[in-house]
Subunit: 338 residues, 3 copies
């Protein structure tokens, strides 16, 4: 619970209305109760129909409402209020009697480890990090401070994880990269994968996402990389800071992705490419070559510049018309030639 005045402080915004009213929660405008605040990230021309006590809105909204929190950018303010009204509760406090540690594990202060989680020999877990149930950490892993490792995650040997990293359930960090050669009869021979994965501070790895260890050297997620669910990061891939990869996308081996790249869902990027900073890749795009231009928008499979791809789609949808015009011309020509 907080007064509107306190909410202004939490969000870095200002109150218009009664700053003494008490707010008990945050909700959507549609569902908000009479003591809740609701987010209106993109307000329309009219005030919404809502029971909310107050609205969180961007400066300069075109309507009036009894109680408002006005902020320059409502999304970070929304994030702050969600955290305030829904503080994280630890899954388990302390080391559960059914957690198991291998030899020579180093635990920082206030580490929590849930039941049936195992930490392999020589691994290090930083202060205040929390490991839920049924997690497997292999030997010689380093996990930084304030990390959150959800249940069912598997962290393979020698992985290095920074601070304030979140690993969602079922994610697999450091599985063997897909490296094979073939013998004289064409039968596959495994290339052992002896490198590691390095994950920077503030990264998040989605549920059932896989980040493969490298053959030699490292697969790297730089600081602030966000991977959605069911994403595949191949061996030796390097992803720059702040890049976000949506669900079911895959990046093949040794490709280098710049910083703050944004990838839609189900994108595929071929191996050994380079993608420049701030490139935006539309969902379902198949990237078959490097993208050198920072901030480029690309789409299609194989990928094209977004404007060209759009034009291409229009032309394809006009093929029937082309065909008809061609037929007409041919007929006219025949008549003329008679």
């Amino acid at each position: 619970m907080a007064t509107l005045k306190e909410i202004a402080e939490i969000t870095g915004g200002r109150v218009r209305g009664d700053d003494k009213i008490e707010i008990t929660g945050i909700n959507t405008a549609r569902k908000a109760g009479e003591s809740e605040i609701a987010l209106l990230a993109k307000p329309g021309k009219k005030a919404p129909s809502t029971n909310a006590a107050a609205l969180l809105v961007p400066d300069g909204i075109p309507f009036d409402f009894p109680n408002l929190i006005l902020v320059a950018d409502p999304m970070p303010a929304f994030a702050a209020l969600l955290t305030f009204f829904h503080p994280a509760r630890p899954f388990y406090s302390g080391i559960h009697p059914d957690a198991r540690l291998g030899e020579n594990v180093t635990l920082g202060k206030d580490v929590c480890i849930g039941p049936f989680s195992f930490i392999g020999r020589n691994s290090v877990i930083g202060d205040n990090s929390e490991i839920h149930a049924n997690v497997t950490v292999y030997p010689e892993v380093v996990i930084g401070r304030h990390c959150l490792i959800h249940s069912g995650a598997v962290i393979r040997e020698k992985t290095i994880i920074g601070e304030r990293v979140i690993i969602q359930p079922g994610a697999v960090i450091g599985a063997d990269g897909f490296g094979f050669t073939r013998d004289g009869q064409g039968r596959p021979i495994k290339i052992p994968q002896v490198g590691r994965v390095v994950i920077g501070d503030h990264c998040e790895v989605g549920a059932n996402t896989c980040v493969d260890r490298s053959t030699l050297e490292e697969t790297v997620l730089a600081a602030g990389v966000k991977l959605d669910n069911l994403v595949q990061i191949g061996h030796n891939v390097i992803i720059g800071p702040g890049t976000a990869v949506s669900a079911q996308s895959g990046i093949a081996g040794s490709t280098k992705i710049g910083s703050q790249v944004v990838m839609g869902g189900q994108v595929g990027i071929a191996d050994h490419l380079e993608i420049a900073d701030k490139v935006m890749i539309a969902a379902h795009c198949g990237v078959s070559g490097s993208v050198k231009e920072a901030g480029a928008l690309i789409a299609g499979s194989p990928h094209q510049n977004m404007a060209k791809w759009r034009r291409s789609q229009v032309l394809i949808r006009n093929l029937d018309n082309f065909r008809e015009r061609l037929r007409i011309l041919e007929n006219k020509f025949k008549e003329k030639s008679k």
Copy 2:
């Protein structure tokens, strides 16, 4: 083991032949032994070459065979016989001594929980539900009666699951939705995901499939929704009753899918769309806009009406021919103009 007469009762069909013969199992026509019954869902003109003692066939088959079970629709009959001949055996009976319950967990009658499974505080498991090994149920989850939760599944906090729901191994229910905003320097800021997942009766969630919790409000699978393996359901998605989603398909945030929609494999549906009831979506389709027409057939990426898409494909494959005709016309024109 059952007589053919008993099999007629199980399947709601009728016997043609000797209703006293004993059937020991069900198999394919190709593999059936001399005391087994085989399914022929789509019989050809001739009786198949088989050792089977009897065949399960639709009414009105065009050939004769010594012993037949005739039914209007053979597939539900087939399902009934598979269940009869392969009754489910519990993975583990009762609560395994190596299962662990948090505080204030409520278990119904005849609940089974396997080794190394953990049920978080305040969760409720309904009568006759079965939880296999290495399952993690977070706090404040409600699981209805007669559910089956396979090994390695993770059910995050506050998830609500109805009755007779099956969760296949490794599925993750209620992981955080992929919600981020960016600060002034473009660095991602996490939007906490504090909503929940609600799964209706008779749903099935495939292996390693992910159903994300919503930001606020709910992500919903209505009754009878069937998700195949490695499917991604984004936050705030709502899926109508009886919809089936094939493997590796993904539905982005806040999209609303109607009832009895059928999706092929590797389909992608963009965010904030609406898909009408009984729409059929071909495999590999990229749905970039809402589909308002109930029962529409769509394909392609970006999607089109199936008939248009097919025509489009034919036209694309004729482009060489168009090009040649264009060249001929241009040449003729040049000659004429001389």
Copy 3:
């Protein structure tokens, strides 16, 4: 550590240079230290800039370097050296006190089972096989000798696994195939999946990959099949020996894949098809029909012969030009007709 002479023996190659120098590890040319050997699989015209003590190169390289190991094919030699310098260390030696076995489990010699792993009743684990932590093996599974089952993997009932098979973390073997029919009201009815999965010798299954059990009969990976991460293998699929499937690809039910087929990432193959031996399928390809020609190269969605697909892409990218030429012809014709 090994002398260059010993390395020649390990790799089946020959030394050019000082065969007495001692090599302490293997690395990339870029990162190699002064006592390491580096692979140069595809050497350029000049020697690389490297601190490496020696290079592993194919016969007939066009430059000189102080110490070389020359081999006919450097990749198998590279694999051998990675294994030599990075010998696998067991995750856990022996049966961990927190592993649990069901009734009547048979363990071979020197089996290792990690903490929180469960082996179901009547299962058999072959000599020298290693099962890591948090693995669930259901009842009546057979696992051969020298297998490696990583943490979080789930092996469902009745699965048969050959020798020297590697299952990466989180993989699910034998989950129910996606089989449903619908009742009179269109509601899905589950078809029980009572078949099994059979995996041949030397196979590898990637992290979070799913191989579904068949309805009846078997889903089969023949010897030496290599599946990357997040792959979906539908029920009743049969994959021939030595076939490699890259990440996020899916093969729908009852499709039969030949031997030594190579599939790029995110490929989809429809159900009930046949793919001939040694077919090569480009990434992101949607295979909608059988491919009968052994060794065919295919691409696109729906798939085409690679050469046709390439041509098709060029033509599509020329549509603007076609359109313009058509417009010019129409205008000329109009003028003529005046």
